[in-house]
Structure formats: structure tokens, C-alpha cells
């Protein structure tokens, strides 16, 4: 058994706290006032959440918030997708731990991971109960969480035994899973079609944002490269595009997209309203991602491209193998910032009549049965969005550390 380090405050923690908060009389006064405010606010929120708030509005509509009006008899497809996602997550997580890029030797459950597991288990047990889901549904959540942890454990335990060739294929399960997910959600290949107008809630929000995030990234990289190209047509085209998009509010573009795509494309060719919005989101975010990537490109010294070219690498190879790996690492935090903005911008879809999380919430609040329960609904929305954004942020942070070969002393 590996020794678990005892949990204790580091020596000096109390002194540091005292020095930080009560260094002088004025400091102490400010600290006391601020802590008082914070405590009062937290107490007020807790009192409201525990005694006054009526959470029935959430538990009664939990399916609506999750998937909108997705047909009940087809929801097994979403459960299947969730299960697959949990397995893929567990597998990738375990493999990342089995092959640390650098740092201390492998441990099966590092401290951060134990925290993550604890949070996952608590959420898996408490959340379905709090939502007063039927027992079979609660058990499904337990099973899915169990599968995730099982995959995590197995991959961490035996990951190193997987031959390198097949391990290289593991990241490919994600794009594959995305395609499988698309089929599962929308139907086809023998499955009943579920029209996009029936998607809603968290499902629609996550689908729209993941679609836009995945596509706006390569598009943004191409635009950034175009903006720095020596070919005038390419350069001015990229500049024009980026500046036009950045000069218009997203909501305008969304309305424009809903109306204009119908005129531009012959009848029936125009994508469905939901997909129109998804493409507008993609094109919108691409312009901002392009600017983030451009800042990364500027951070790579010109000598890098010169060295690569003078070794005989043609421009595309020099960009792919030398310039972009360095530029994208620099641009990563700003790019993920754009992704987070994009995720939050999906709430604008409710203004063009789509039932994303916010749209669903508005229909729920308009229901006479739940009149005046706005606070409960908005609080839950805020927490949901916060969770998604925090996950993106954590992921980006982990990626940043992993992509950094070592602490490079800057020249």
C-alpha cells in the first residue's frame, strides 16, 4: 500500500494567513468587514437555497433541461452516447496518467485524481437523488459513473501494456465518437430521424458549442495564416473577413444567418434553422480564434521559419512541424478563452427561437405552474454553465502543462 501523506496545514499557513489579512490595524479592519459581507451573503444564499427556494421547478423539468423535447422512446440513444462518452473519458484519463509527459513516476491515483473521483462519486449519488429521479434512472447514473471509474482504473493500471501502435490510435476515438454521437442524436443508418427542432436544453447547448469549437479552430488557424500570407489576395481576404465579423454583434449575424441563408441557397438546400445557427456561431468564433492564433504566430521568432526553410522544408511542412506547434501553444489560453465565450454565446440562440438551455428555461418559467421561480432556474443555469466553462479551463490548463516540454529558460 502506498503511503498516503497525512492531510495537514503546512507549517506557517496560519502565520501567512495572519500576515496576509491582519498585517496592520487598517488591514484587519478591511478584512473583518469583507469577511463579514461574504459570510452574510453566503448565509443568505444558503438560507434561501435550503428553506425558501422551491426546487420542484427543476426536478419536475429535469428532462426538459437536459434534452428538451427529444422523443422519450428514442432517449435510449442518448443514454448509450453518455455511456460511450464516460468510457472514452475514463480511458483517456487513465492513459494520460499512465504516460506522464514528464515529472514524477507513475502513480495510479495522484492526489488531484482522488479529489476528482470523490467529486464525481458525490455528484453521481447526490444529484439524481436531489432531482428526485426514478430509481432506475438513478441507478443508470451510478452505473455510468462506475463505468467511467472502471475504465479510468483499468487504463491507468494496464495502459503501459498496450502496444505503442494501438495507443497512438486512442485519441482517434474522440472524433469517431463525435460522428457516432451525431448519428445517435439525429438518426439515420437505420435509426429513426429526430429533427433538430426537437433537440433542446443542455443537449442542444453542448452540441452547438462543441460543433462550433471543433470547426472554428481549424478555420481560425487558416485565417490567421492567411492574414500573415505574402499573397495579397489571401491576406486581404482574411483581413476583410476577420474585421467584418469582429465588427458585427453576434446577435445581428444570427438573425442575418436565419434570413439570408434562405435567399442565398436554392429552396430546400439551406440547412435547418439549428444548423444555420451552428454555422453562424462557427464563422463568428473563427474570426476571434484567428486573432488569438495570430498573436501566437507573432510570438514565434522569424528565425524559426528561416531555419526550417533553409533546411529545405517546403512552407506547408515548415508551418506544420515548426511554426504552428510553437504558435498554438502560446495561443492556447486565449483560444480557450474564445471557446468559453462561444459556449456562453450559445445562450443567444434562445433569442432566435431555439430551445437551448436558456430558451428551455424561458419556456419553463413561462409555464403558469412555475410562475415566479426565476431565481431557482437562473441559479441552476449559472451553475451548469460554470461547470462547463470550468471543465474547459481545467482542460486547457492541463494541456498547456503537457505541451510544455520543460521549463525553458527564455533566451
Amino acid at each position: 500500500m502506498d503511503a498516503v501523506p497525512p492531510l495537514r496545514l503546512r507549517p506557517g499557513a496560519w502565520q501567512r494567513l495572519r500576515r496576509g489579512l491582519f498585517a496592520s490595524r487598517v488591514d484587519g479592519l478591511i478584512s473583518i468587514v469583507l469577511i463579514g459581507f461574504l459570510l452574510a451573503a453566503a448565509l443568505g444564499l444558503a438560507k434561501w437555497a435550503l428553506f425558501q427556494a422551491q426546487w420542484a421547478v427543476i426536478s419536475a423539468n429535469s428532462t426538459l433541461f437536459a434534452v428538451g423535447r427529444y422523443p422519450l422512446e428514442q432517449q435510449w440513444r442518448l443514454w448509450l452516447l453518455t455511456t460511450l462518452l464516460a468510457l472514452a473519458t475514463g480511458l483517456s484519463w487513465g492513459l494520460l496518467r499512465a504516460f506522464p509527459r514528464s515529472g514524477p513516476p507513475v502513480t495510479l491515483w495522484p492526489r488531484n485524481d482522488r479529489w476528482a473521483v470523490a467529486i464525481l462519486v458525490v455528484l453521481a449519488i447526490w444529484r439524481p437523488m436531489a432531482l428526485q429521479l426514478a430509481l432506475p434512472i438513478q441507478m443508470r447514473w451510478w452505473a455510468i459513473t462506475g463505468l467511467l471509474l472502471l475504465a479510468r482504473w483499468a487504463a491507468g493500471r494496464w495502459g503501459q501494456a498496450i502496444p505503442q501502435v494501438s495507443r497512438r490510435l486512442v485519441p482517434l476515438i474522440w472524433p469517431l465518437l463525435y460522428l457516432v454521437g451525431m448519428v445517435l442524436i439525429s438518426g439515420g443508418l437505420g435509426l429513426v430521424q429526430v429533427a433538430p427542432s426537437e433537440w433542446g436544453g443542455l443537449l442542444l447547448t453542448l452540441l452547438m458549442s462543441s460543433f462550433a469549437i471543433l470547426l472554428c479552430f481549424p478555420l481560425g488557424v487558416l485565417l490567421a495564416l492567411g492574414r500573415r500570407s505574402e499573397l495579397p489576395l489571401l491576406r486581404w481576404g482574411s483581413v476583410l473577413y476577420i474585421e467584418f465579423i469582429r465588427g458585427a454583434p453576434l446577435i445581428t449575424l444570427l438573425f442575418l444567418g436565419q434570413n439570408i441563408l434562405g435567399f442565398l441557397l436554392p429552396g430546400g438546400m439551406a440547412p435547418d434553422r439549428v444548423w444555420r445557427a451552428a454555422w453562424v456561431l462557427t464563422f463568428f468564433a473563427a474570426a476571434y480564434v484567428a486573432e488569438a492564433v495570430r498573436s501566437g504566430l507573432s510570438a514565434v521568432p522569424a528565425g524559426q521559419l528561416e531555419a526550417a526553410r533553409s533546411l529545405g522544408l517546403p512552407l506547408p511542412l515548415a508551418l506544420i512541424h515548426v511554426v504552428l506547434p510553437q504558435a498554438l501553444r502560446v495561443a492556447l489560453p486565449a483560444t480557450v478563452g474564445q471557446f468559453i465565450t462561444l459556449l456562453q454565446d450559445t445562450t443567444l440562440l434562445s433569442l432566435i427561437g431555439l430551445l437551448d438551455l436558456l430558451g428551455t428555461a424561458r419556456t419553463v418559467m413561462a409555464n403558469p405552474e412555475f410562475l415566479g421561480k426565476n431565481a431557482e432556474v437562473y441559479l441552476v443555469l449559472a451553475v451548469l454553465f460554470w461547470c462547463c466553462c470550468a471543465a474547459l479551463g481545467l482542460g486547457s490548463r492541463a494541456l498547456e502543462i503537457r505541451l510544455n516540454p520543460q521549463a525553458q529558460p527564455s533566451r
Partner: protein, 248 residues
């Protein structure tokens, strides 16, 4: 009479204007034979680096012609890449790829451009690292090496493409004094092995000991071209004399 060796670089009447109108090269001629070591010296801003960089197309020029290893430089990108495969270049700022290990820095181009098997290239790369004296650093990243070590890796990286010509653009100017010698020694070894080299440098001792010819450039022109012993002991042109008095 021995047959005259092949001409590796032939530059005739090269003129270059920068976009801002600055006339950087004013009709420069130079011819470098196989196995020759030519050192280009001159005050900063004299156009010596610019001239060197025209040989592998890092700088363009408006008039004149340059032929490298039998290939004439033109706008045709295939020609430029063909020349760059045969011409190695070492930079003042090393320009190693910081996201790749030392070994990967060496193998990247041979694998991607020459399409050689990775294992074979790695074997040659390790030999080269041995030759420049840093085989034990092969799996480190450039940022973990000293300046002198980095520059030696940069030389090995160029050699890994098995070039027929090596260009050096002030290879020791960014180094701490105690690291200059280890880099110059590697270059001296290269010259001994018969590599054709054009070196822009301020290292008088290297020029004296290794160069076959020294070229002095000033104001975008070749002022004087002579074997080192004559150049350093008996310079003909007043601007050469002025330059030599400034650096010694």
C-alpha cells in the same frame, strides 16, 4: 596542371534594394570553389549577412545572377528548395526548434524532405552529435543547453542533411566569450574535411587560420578580396586598413 575544381557558388553583379529604397547590395561578385573556405568581413550594415542570405534564397535580389551548385536561383520555388537541400545554414541566434529534442531537431528535415527511414537518420544524427561533442545531450531540449552547445547542435542539424555547402551567418556573435572556441573548433574540423564554406564573422584568428580567401565588404560592395596572410598584413584598400585598425 591539375583540373580546376568545380565552382560551387557563382554570384555576378548582385544588386538588392530593400522595400524602403535602401540600396543594400551594389553589384557584388563572388565565386567560391569546391572545398574553399571564404570569410566575409566588414562593418555592420555593410551588407555581408544580406549577401550571404541571398545564396539560399532567404533574401531576394533585383539584379544580377546567383548560381549555387549548378542551380540558378530564380522565383521558381522548386529551385529554391533544391538549393536549400544542398546548402546548410547556421544562424547567429542558433534558431533551434525549442519544442523538439536535440535529436528530433536533427532528424526532422532528413525524414520529411529526403524521405529517409527514421532509424537510419537517427543513427547518423547520433554520429554527428558525437562529432560535435554533445552526443550525451541528444534527448534534452535546446533550452536546456548552453549557447555554445546550441550552436554546435545547429551545425550538426545542418550537416544531417548532408549539404555540399555550409553558410555561417556570424555563428559566434551571440555567444559568451568562453564558448566561442568550441564552436570555431567544430567549424575548423569541417573545413579540414573539405567542406565548402562561406563564413560571415568577426573572428580574425579563424579567418587567418582557416580561410582560403577573405572578402571585405563595405557599403554593399566588395572592397577587397585576398588570401588571409596578404589581407591582414598588407591590405591594399584604405577602407580595409581602416576596418582592420578598428577591430584590432
Amino acid at each position: 596542371m591539375t583540373p580546376s575544381p568545380a565552382v560551387m557558388i557563382e554570384a555576378r553583379g548582385v544588386e538588392k534594394w530593400y522595400p524602403n529604397g535602401f540600396h543594400a547590395l551594389r553589384g557584388v561578385d563572388l565565386s567560391v570553389e569546391q572545398g574553399e573556405v571564404v570569410v566575409i568581413m566588414g562593418p555592420s550594415g555593410s551588407g555581408k549577412s544580406t549577401f550571404l542570405r541571398t545564396f539560399n534564397g532567404l533574401e531576394d535580389f533585383q539584379k544580377g545572377s546567383i548560381t549555387v551548385d549548378g542551380i540558378t536561383l530564380s522565383d521558381d520555388l522548386r529551385h529554391i528548395d533544391a538549393i536549400r537541400r544542398e546548402v546548410g545554414m547556421v544562424f547567429q541566434q542558433f534558431n533551434l526548434f525549442p519544442h523538439l529534442t536535440v535529436l528530433d531537431n536533427l532528424t526532422l528535415a532528413p525524414v520529411l524532405v529526403r524521405k529517409l527511414a527514421k532509424a537510419e537518420v537517427q543513427r547518423r544524427a547520433l554520429e554527428l552529435l558525437e562529432r560535435v561533442g554533445i552526443a550525451e545531450q541528444a534527448h534534452k531540449y535546446p533550452g536546456q543547453l548552453s549557447g555554445g552547445q546550441q550552436q554546435r547542435v545547429a551545425i550538426a542539424r545542418s550537416l544531417c542533411m548532408e549539404p555540399r555547402i555550409m553558410l555561417f551567418d556570424e555563428p559566434t556573435s551571440a555567444l559568451d566569450p568562453e564558448m566561442v572556441l568550441e564552436v570555431l573548433e567544430v567549424m575548423q574540423g569541417l573545413a579540414r574535411d573539405g567542406m565548402t564554406m562561406v563564413v560571415v564573422t568577426h573572428e580574425v584568428r579563424f579567418a587567418r587560420q582557416v580561410a582560403d580567401r577573405v572578402v571585405l565588404m563595405d557599403d554593399g560592395e566588395v572592397v577587397e578580396m585576398a588570401p588571409p596572410e596578404r589581407f591582414f598584413s598588407n591590405p591594399q584598400h584604405p577602407r580595409s586598413r581602416q576596418f582592420l585598425s578598428q577591430i584590432s
